[in-house]
């Protein structure tokens, strides 16, 4: 039994930590978030140079052969800087599909440039009517000779506005909500008939509504088998769920630490507010939430990495905890910071907002609790 980081993980954690410490303070992050694209192209190039964009990919594809535990370590550290560069969209989401479904030619065309930081990609896993159902794919792809014609709408596509490549799940057969009949397409963002309405989200990130109006793609745009894209989509979203949970656990730890520090510095009635028992007990609750979340994260990452039958349950468990305990931890952090907690100026509010966004992403607390309630184990 061993929960310690291996040598490579320790190096990864250390290098991300140094980067955040030296080059990514809160003001810098805010400037990147408020820039045109919502992130820094230079920073993204640095991520690629340092090999962070290569972590989960096979060595043959130019990757580092890392697994869920390595991604966990990286995400937990990136969380400390509230990093806005599109790691999730590119490496975890688009990368997750490309890694699983792309053929050699597609890897060369899309995956390798993505790892090199030269091509931005994302996965449009959501549709306006879907809520959290991955199977709710109303976007259609129909045959037109050797080509495919795509029609439909994708909602809240993460970093959709800056992506060069959009991976589009589209229905090629079956009924709404069937797992079978979903096909994955790699679609260039500049395709005729594709409109992308990009916007900022409350957590300092970017997303887009994407409309596909008779977009024509060649057959070589199909990733994996026709009608058979769901398994890759589902496995990718599980990994992405773990990745954002790791980020959330990192944020929870930052919020807990910042709150405890603040309560020691801030005096009222002539004493530090951290001497009040009511606040102490709340902060102990925050600490316990961090420990529980870290524990479940480790379970889930190990279950997912080993492909155990517990994996689905473990992923839903950590996501449920992050969505519930994370929310109350964030709310307590704001409350204990008092008036300062509700200002734009203080970083605490921005950690809270990102934590809140993660709470919703890939299924909220109710969604995952429902899965756990009906699972038999």
């Amino acid at each position: 039994m061993d929960f310690s980081l291996n040598e490579i993980q320790a190096m990864l954690a250390d290098s991300v930590d140094k980067f955040i410490q030296n080059e990514y303070d809160f003001d810098t992050r805010q400037a990147y978030a408020e820039s045109d694209t919502g992130f820094s192209a230079d920073v993204w190039s640095t991520f690629a140079e340092l090999g962070w964009t290569a972590v989960p990919f096979a060595e043959d594809d130019g990757g580092l052969d890392g697994g869920p535990a390595d991604i966990m370590v990286l995400m937990q550290q990136l969380a400390r800087g509230l990093v806005v560069e599109p790691y999730l969209a590119n490496v975890i989401l688009a990368g997750g599909i490309l890694r699983r479904a792309a053929n050699a030619e597609q890897k060369e065309r899309w995956l390798q440039p993505m790892i090199a930081g030269e091509l931005h990609a994302t996965l449009a896993f959501n549709e306006p009517q879907a809520r959290y159902r991955l199977t709710s794919v109303a976007t259609t792809a129909t045959r037109d000779g050797d080509d495919w014609i795509l029609n439909g709408c994708k909602g809240v596509v993460l970093n959709g506005g800056t992506a060069d490549l959009l991976i589009i799940p589209a229905r090629t057969s079956g009924n709404a909500d069937d797992e079978r009949g979903i096909t994955l397409f790699g679609v260039a963002a500049d395709s005729d008939g594709l409109t992308c309405n990009a916007y900022a989200t409350y957590d300092g990130q970017r997303a887009a509504e994407v409309i596909l109006d008779g977009v024509c793609v060649e057959d070589r745009a199909v990733l994996g088998e026709v009608d058979d894209g769901f398994a890759d989509l589902d496995a990718t979203i599980d990994e992405a769920t773990l990745a954002v949970c790791a980020e959330a656990v990192g944020i929870m730890q930052v919020l807990k630490d910042k709150t405890v520090e603040y309560s020691k510095d801030r005096s009222q009635f002539g004493v530090p507010i951290g001497s009040f028992q009511e606040l102490q007990h709340r902060m102990v609750d925050m600490l316990m939430a961090c420990e529980q979340a870290q524990s479940l994260l480790l379970w889930a990452v190990m279950a997912n990495a080993s492909g155990s039958e517990e994996s689905k349950r473990a992923v839903s468990s950590i996501k449920y905890l992050v969505s519930t305990a994370g929310r109350s931890l964030g709310e307590d952090a704001i409350q204990i910071h008092g008036g300062m907690g509700v200002t734009w100026e203080l970083d605490v509010a921005h950690y809270f907002k990102r934590l809140t966004a993660i709470g919703t992403m890939f299924g909220d607390a109710d969604w995952h609790l429902d899965k756990l309630a009906s699972a038999s184990h």
Binding site: V284, E291, S295
Partner: protein, 391 residues
Amino acid sequence: MHVTFSEADLAFQEEVRTFFRDEYPDEIREAVSSGEELPREMQIRWQKILFEKGWAGINWPTEHGGTGWTPVQKYIYAREEGNANAPVIVPFGLNMVGPVIYTFGSEAQKNRFLPDILASNTWWCQGYSEPGAGSDLASLKTKGDLVGDHWVVNGTKTWTTLGQFADWIFCLVRTTSDVARRQEGISFLLIDMKSPGVTVKPIILLDGTHEVNEIHFDNVEVPVENLVGEEGKGWTYGKVLLQHERTNSANTFRSEYRLRKLREQAATSVRGAPPLADDKNFMRRLAAVEVELKGLEYTELRTLAAVSSGKAPGPESSFLKIKGTEIQQAIDTLYMDAAGYYALPYRADPSVGEGTETLTALRYFNFRKATIYAGSNEIQKNIIAKHVLGL
């Protein structure tokens, strides 16, 4: 990063599993699963079976007849014990006073007391709390005056669990009152329950059971050789023991067993009612407790991994106590709600309805104590705030 066990640990797991399968008597097994209090003689019989196997002193070093198990082996044992729904060991002798005696006691005390504790020949109880000293234990008033070669003890101890069966009691007693800190001047005394001047008065708990007592000491003469360690240092010894009590109270595997049973029960129809599994609200609440318990299990594993790699265990015992007891009570509540009306006839005799669900209320009411004993959960939060958060 992995949670696999070594070959040796897996072999050990198999040995423990086999033991619980083959040597846990059906009669005791049935008595435990009935939910009623286990009769004294069955409790002792079980503990003697463990003694014969060499597994009575789980935490004890081998030189005193203990198992000498590694932290991982203890963990494996606790898991199998929970899965088997084996009786909870009465902790006062084996888990509490035993370790205090072998750590701080004299050679004479070790020779005199340890063998009988290990073999469950003597029944011990704990004299800590007093009517005026609960969470604020250091304010205890039971007094010991040195007269010749005896400590003369006067005062009252309370919440003394199963004191009605006890042969001996270990007590925190104030032996010096002129001290700078209230934690000083308290001594750790071993007192024979048959001593003249000891009276045991039952306290009936809200579930109607006689589990705890008030013990009065009226000029009770305790030979000086029954003082453990140094005079005035009892608080330090007692604290060591309390940390152990707290870690024990996480009860992860017993909770796991009870949740698993509840899920099984929920899948079937009871008294012709639709299965509870059809009730989404109930199943959601059940699932939420399962998540918390899984978190606790991995927190314990993380603690264990740290201890195994040589790190000292710290105030996480407080964390485990808080979470463990909260989860226990959450499960009790689920059982109550699962039983509905049929929680009302709260004794098994005469039998009403279908079996054990009539005992859920007994458990629910009785275990309100879990968040109060061993230092209430609020006290545990104070400890974490001070020692972990530095507040």
